[in-house]
């Protein structure tokens, strides 16, 4: 497939599944087709199920936000193929640095769905234990985590992790088209390139950075950014789960084999709002939305599965039931997540190693909470530190 940029220049884009769900056999894509062909019908059904459940998660979270149960939510609608396809190529030992919209990736990594909403609920800090699923926390200051991914990858390298297609360790970082303008992201690629760090830069070009179109961020197709830093770089049809899977698997294997970083641009679309506090009708046309609705990644995989006899009403019903269960789990689970923590708990995690000043501050807030504040924070400092001395 080729897509065009504003100047109608054709841009090579890997596609293995067309928008109607037919397998595409373009010349030069044999390696990728072979990777996709290795996916069994069961694998494809699994991908489909996970994409549908990701969308269900999105819908449930959006309505929880509408009901005032979440402070904010950033939907991933439209990006399910990019997220689920790339996450299927990961192995458990690989490490993920997401931005803030990667609900499909988190789903495939096996993170508890309620934990994935803690952060948006504001029930406490963070939300999940990164080491449990080798999946780091969300980062909202745009692009910063691409450097963390690079540093983690350099650490993997330093550990002397074996170079093996399957048993090596790769790192992947997800970021958006807007993020490509940040210095951090560009510096991350410099570092990764000169150090041969085992990291995959996975760009989801969803066409928008809040209200800004990609024309505000770039004059060249974004995959060329990676190329300029010396990274093997590829644009894939981000709504084609097979192409995303094959391209990501190739890049991850390169990393696990010690052959350095890669860059993938998944060309996709943010079908929903930027977040629940955004209204996209203010800055984009319904024609554009309609055009991308016809390229819906879930419909596309459904069409393939149906034509290959892998999707029937029973399976749809099964997924629907699973979605209902997920919905109930989220509604109950999210409402049950409640703060109610003592005010002084805000001091719990400020430092990994507690110290005197922190103890003083905590003691003062505890006294304050109890309605018995000492005249000055220093009054308590004197006694607390006096005691310690």
């Amino acid at each position: 497939m080729t897509t065009t940029n504003g100047s109608n220049e054709a841009i090579p884009t890997l596609q293995l599944l067309d928008p109607q769900g037919n397998r595409v056999t373009t010349r030069g894509t044999k390696g990728y087709r072979d990777r996709a062909a290795a996916l069994t019908a069961e694998d494809l059904r699994g991908m489909y199920r996970d994409m549908v459940l990701t969308r269900r998660f999105d819908d449930e979270a959006t309505s929880l936000q509408r009901q005032g149960e979440l402070a904010l939510f950033a939907p991933s609608r439209g990006q399910e193929a990019a997220q689920v396809g790339s996450a299927y190529a990961l192995r458990p030992q690989d490490y993920v640095f997401p931005s803030y919209r990667e609900h499909g990736v988190l789903h495939v990594r096996g993170l508890d769905p309620v934990d994935r909403l803690r952060f948006f609920r504001g029930s406490d800090h963070g939300g999940w234990n990164p080491t449990e699923h080798n999946t780091s926390v969300y980062t909202i200051v745009i692009g910063a985590h691409t450097l963390h991914a690079t540093g983690y990858a350099m650490g993997v390298q330093r550990d002397g992790t074996p170079h093996d297609k399957n048993d090596g360790t790769a790192v992947i970082t997800y970021f958006g088209d807007g993020a490509t303008s940040q210095g951090d992201v560009n510096e991350a690629m410099v570092y990764a390139a000169v150090n041969d760090a085992p990291v995959v830069f996975f760009l989801q070009n969803n066409q928008w950075a809040i209200s800004e179109p990609t024309t505000r961020q770039t004059k060249t197709p974004l995959y060329k950014r990676g190329e300029a830093f010396g990274l093997p770089s590829l644009r894939v049809d981000g709504n084609d789960v097979l192409a995303v899977y094959a391209a990501t698997q190739e890049a991850l294997e390169r990393a696990r084999l010690g052959q350095g970083p890669s860059f993938i641009e998944a060309f996709t679309y943010r079908m929903g709002a930027h977040t629940t506090s955004d209204d996209p009708t203010r800055y984009r046309t319904s024609e554009q939305e309609e055009q991308w609705r016809r390229r819906d990644p879930i419909d596309r995989l459904a069409a393939l599965l149906r034509s290959e006899g892998a999707l029937d009403d029973d399976f749809e019903a099964e997924i629907k039931a699973e979605g209902d269960e997920l919905g109930a789990q989220l509604r109950d689970g999210v409402r049950a997540l409640d703060g109610g923590s003592a005010v002084s708990s805000m001091f719990d995690d400020v430092y990994a190693t507690p110290h005197g000043t922190l103890a003083t501050d905590r003691a003062w807030y505890e006294a304050y909470d109890a309605g018995d504040p000492p005249a000055s924070q220093y009054a308590i400092a004197d006694s607390a530190q006096g005691g310690a001395r």
Partner: protein, 331 residues
């Protein structure tokens, strides 16, 4: 004289300055088509076109640095950084370049730019999106930092900032955008570096800026009504230059001071004010200077903890009571 919001005052001033001086132009993320994250620039792209109102890539250091270059040419860029938190990405450009170009090169080149940016917690935006870090800029010679608390000051200080030949960080506040106040139609530019006594009183001086000056006025009025207290309120308005004289004169008169700030206590702006009072009004003090500030934690996301961590109206009342109790013991 009309009663308008702080947001409207900022908008009207930008609009008037764009109309007045072709050298003035705006730059920032989403300020054009989207009209700004907080809608300060609503309608300005339509009215003035993309030559004057420029949407930028998501690159804070990039557009801040570019604004410095444009200012060196004699233009008057007004950049908007979505929130002060993201100004951290532009720290090198602001601190090492905007603040130093004039001084380091013998005054050959001025950098007449404005960085408009809101601070403020309390919106459940998480620790990295809720900071009050104006102190970082107030610390730096070569920069000016202003922090209006009323619509009238928003206008007068923004006029002054745009016309000033030095780089000015113009601090807005998320919690103030919808507050209302009277703004004179023929509002003149403020003098940057002058504090304002927004309420005269004899019993105690409350000192604040931005949101906390607003809280100070509320508390002073309430305590006047409920307890007959006569509290003076000093609204700093400018953090650098800092109007120590007004602060000291007030405390010499009242003999007691409570300093309010929305940032962290340790090394905060309140510490600087308290030191100034100690220097200039020590013999007049009848009680130790108290500070009300935020808990020393990254601001929690959970609503109840966020509220507890931020300095509140009640915290100010408590500090006033305790300070006056200390005064009573002394006098």
């Amino acid at each position: 004289m009309s009663v308008i919001t702080y947001r409207q005052a900022l908008h009207d001033t930008l609009r008037a300055e764009l109309a007045r001086d072709d050298n003035v132009f705006l730059m920032g993320e989403e300020i054009g088509l989207f009209e700004g994250s907080y809608k300060i620039t609503a309608g300005l792209l339509d009215e003035f076109g993309p030559r004057r109102v420029r949407d930028t890539p998501i690159a804070e250091e990039g557009f801040t640095g570019a604004a410095i270059g444009a200012a060196m040419l004699g233009l008057r860029p007004v950049v908007e950084i979505m929130t002060i938190n993201f100004s951290l990405l532009a720290l090198d450009q602001i601190v090492n370049h905007a603040a130093k170009i004039h001084g380091m090169f013998g005054g050959q080149l001025a950098v007449p730019m404005v960085i408009r940016t809101p601070g403020g917690g309390g919106q459940q935006l998480g620790a990295s999106h809720s900071q009050n870090i104006e102190l970082y800029y107030s610390f730096v010679p070569g920069l000016k930092v202003v922090a209006p608390s009323t619509p009238a000051d928003a206008k007068a200080l923004l006029l002054a900032a745009i016309r000033d030949d030095d780089p000015v960080l113009f601090l807005e506040n998320l919690a103030l955008y919808n507050t209302k106040g009277e703004v004179p139609a023929d509002c003149a530019p403020a003098t940057i570096g002058k504090a304002h006594i927004s309420r005269e009183g004899e019993d105690l001086t409350l000192i604040g800026y931005s949101r906390m000056a607003h809280v100070a006025r509320q508390v002073a009025e309430e305590l006047a009504d409920s307890e007959g207290l006569d509290i003076e309120v000093v609204d700093l308005r400018s953090l650098r230059p800092l109007d120590r004289d007004t602060v000291i004169a007030s405390v010499r008169k009242t003999g007691a001071a409570v300093v309010l700030e929305d940032d962290w206590l340790t090394y905060g702006i309140g510490a600087e004010i308290a030191a100034s009072i100690s220097d200039g009004a020590f013999d007049h003090l009848d009680a130790p200077v108290r500070r009300v500030a935020m808990a020393e934690v990254p601001l929690p996301y959970a609503k109840s903890l966020e509220t507890a961590a931020l300095p509140s109206h009640d915290d100010v009342v408590t500090a006033v009571h305790e300070t006056l109790a200390a005064v009573g013991r002394r006098r």
